[in-house]
Symmetry: C2
Subunit: 475 residues, 2 copies
């Protein structure tokens, strides 16, 4: 349902406001090609404007090429207009963003929508009060500057604290091998732009983290998916792929893999590292969800000690996504390259935010907070598993912790159209195809257990699954 | 003077601490190829360690290839070791970072060093108290979340406020044409990665903003400098360059140009836009320093109304560099491309920081703050001009405001070696060559008037200039 905020008091005519609002929805792919615009009468009543105004706005959108009119049937979003040639990046750019609409939907401030497929926890699960308390404490300290640039690598005491944190994972590292970044995403971005050139082959998890895929494509990388099994990346499949491809790097999740919540086993880790050695590629280990894991887990960086592995972490999921504090750890000469790129692309990260994370880590809040979240997630996960089974879905394995359940919709060719249907009912689902390197069809959905227990989801699944049973959903 | 922080209580042996500390200085180019390490005895006394420890550390650095030993003369930093082939980006990467060492020095937390060449104001000039007060106010508001992701474009009320701010500059824009970014640097970065491909020709100001040059090089752009004159980019020179080159874009500063503090005139603006139209290239107008300008000024975006111009702004220089709040404004279909790239490369920016800037803007603090800074800068600039003239330098034109004075060192071929000499006396200068697209020699220096009145600078110039007079300084 399209809801624009129109303002009759604005100097901008209502027609212009409608045109601009719908255009933005189309540009952001909240309205996608082929979707029907609301009927003129319905739109006029909902927004308390005259029907003539709506007709004029729709006509203008047709003239602009954003909308097509089908006689007797209504107005539909047109296919996306390409930019003039001089402004288009390679064709890869278009492909890179096939799924950006999912992220817009996730980030959109739409409290009424049930975000059952997002990759983070609801605000009410987070320690808002702890963050605010430390914010206030920090803003009272005379030695803290909130107005100047941070240092190139980021706040040193936090890097020293990360040294201790990584030592607990069995990863030995000096503070000067660590760079603080604008979230884990910027850490991955720095690695990519330093080491990947157009046309390079890059290995990724299949399924894996789709925002990473989009970024790799933006740099012209050629993505090759390494199938995951219950032990991590499948070493036999990896070995077979290496007969054909000469990858520059392998980007992978070891602990609480996104989207399956599976873990890497020591045996699989050993074989992956052996193959990396033999075929001389770098491994980038993204551990954004690892802190949710209860008890010890196997990380590639623990075996390899940052020789061939670049380790990426974040506090976005556990502490605050807003503070945008992530980091990478690597061997010294790579660190020097990476910090050059950090400076050139963003100058520095916020030392104030880094000090805040440091306070939360050192005052014991962090550990308690994470333990509390682990318990709450475990409870929500087991209830989500039961709900999904009741609804007729087939959860994949037993999640090892974390916020995701990866579940198959039996008898469906591709869950993407189920997700499209759910969106119209105000429920945001993450279909398996977006987690695949080439967006291949997938019968899976990723559920976020912190959102999945909302009654609306079970009700929707109960109503919708019979409609989709046996359908391939590919047109 | 090399100062490491050694800790005798640390489990890490002192030798390891020295090796790691010096290695980091070399990797970050605080120690550069050819520079001499402190004599063993001096280092030992300064750091209160035994001479054997220093000898062992220096020997280890020689073995690692970081340092060379010259018989009878001491230890010198070796040329930088190349990375193994598999890890090297194109040769452009190395060139892109020729000057990154300047930024490391600028960002380094070295209170004893006089940063007479940096591109921002000292912390004591900034409204620390205002920022902290609003930080506390914000952290008490129950409707503000400090733990969740912001929206794709950034906090909407701030974008609406920017619409008003840009309207004061005569630039008409809708909030949905604005993207909030992690500083102006990320805004420039987003434009570059969306529109520039390896091998593309890109026009830049000569002299101009060197961190931008490094980023463009990182993407493989071919930089062509457009000479600046007192009216802005020289239109005749630009026209001549366009006979030979087909640029994709022109990145330029219009108001209080960095490094000369000159302004664009309406006539030059008109000719630049005419040429952009005729030769079909985009203009990216960086206005990071524009708010320091007292009274009206000419901007390309004002004439062009964001048709061919992408406008970039920031609050880093006036309000807080730490908050990392910048923005870009552009026409709608470009905005859709740019926000895709923002999501893919950093997911979102900090809404908390954006709310803070919004508060500062709407409660009247910002305008008062900027007016106060303008007055203080004007006073410091006129005193800096007199000091530089007393010292025998030739300031370039009359600065129109802002924090920079661009001054020539008469009779010198390249001011870079004067800057190298000054660094050894604890004074950081910015030599003209780093502001040139190919780092061509330049007899100019950029001074920051907020730092330049420190007595140490006048004393140093008085002592050093006679030593450098008549020297080309190129070896």
């Amino acid at each position: 349902m399209l809801q624009l905020s129109l303002n009759a008091e604005s100097p901008l005519p209502l027609v212009d406001q409608i045109v601009s609002g719908i255009r933005t929805h189309i540009d952001d792919r909240l309205l996608r090609a082929g979707m029907r615009l609301p009927p003129i009468r319905g739109f006029a009543e909902q927004h308390a404007v005259s029907r003539f105004t709506v007709v004029e706005a729709y006509d203008r959108l047709v003239a602009l090429g954003y909308v097509t009119s089908r006689r007797g049937s209504g107005f539909y979003v047109a296919g996306r207009k390409p930019l003039p040639a001089a402004e288009t990046q390679s064709g890869e750019l278009e492909r890179a963003f096939d799924n950006a609409g999912v992220m817009y939907q996730s980030l959109e401030d739409a409290p009424a929508r049930l975000k059952a497929g997002v990759g983070w926890l609801p605000p009410e699960w987070m320690d808002e009060e702890g963050v605010r308390r430390n914010l206030r404490a920090l803003s009272r300290r005379p030695d803290v500057h909130a107005t100047t640039y941070g240092t190139a690598l980021g706040y040193r005491p936090l890097r020293e604290q990360l040294q201790i944190k990584l030592a607990e994972f069995g990863i030995g590292v000096q503070p000067d091998q660590i760079i603080l970044t604008h979230g884990a995403t910027q850490a991955l971005d720095i690695v990519i732009r330093t080491l990947i050139q157009p046309g390079d082959c890059v290995l990724v998890d299949d399924p894996g983290y789709w925002n990473l895929f989009a970024n790799l494509r933006l740099y012209g990388a050629n993505l090759v998916g390494v199938p995951r099994n219950d032990n991590g990346p499948d070493p036999d499949a990896l070995e077979a792929l290496l007969q054909e491809h000469r990858p520059k790097a392998f980007f992978t999740h070891s602990v609480l893999h996104n989207p399956t919540s599976g873990n890497l086993t020591p045996a699989a880790a050993f074989r992956v590292l052996q193959l990396a050695e033999k075929h001389d590629f770098l491994i980038v280990e993204d551990d954004a969800y690892g802190d949710f894991h209860p008890g010890p887990a196997t990380r590639l960086a623990q075996l390899d000690q940052l020789n061939r592995v670049v380790y990426v972490g974040s506090f976005a999921k556990t502490l605050s996504a807003d503070l945008r504090v992530g980091f990478l750890a690597c061997r010294p000469e790579l660190r020097a390259r990476f910090s050059d790129v950090k400076i050139v692309s963003c100058v520095s990260t916020s030392e104030f935010a880094e000090r805040l994370v440091y306070l939360m880590l050192t005052e014991g809040h962090y550990r308690k907070l994470v333990e509390r979240l682990q318990g709450r997630l475990a409870d929500a996960a087991s209830r989500t598993l039961r709900m999904l089974e009741r609804s007729g879905l087939k959860p994949h394995g037993e999640p090892k912790g974390g916020m995701f359940v990866w579940a198959e919709v039996p008898g469906i060719g591709d869950a993407a159209c189920l997700a499209g249907d759910a969106a119209e009912s105000g429920i945001m689902l993450s279909p398996g195809s977006i987690f695949r390197p080439q967006q291949q069809p997938s019968p899976f959905l990723r559920f976020n257990v912190a959102y999945a227990l909302d009654k609306r989801l079970e009700r929707y699944l109960g109503e919708a699954l019979p409609r989709f049973a046996g359908k391939c959903c590919k047109d």
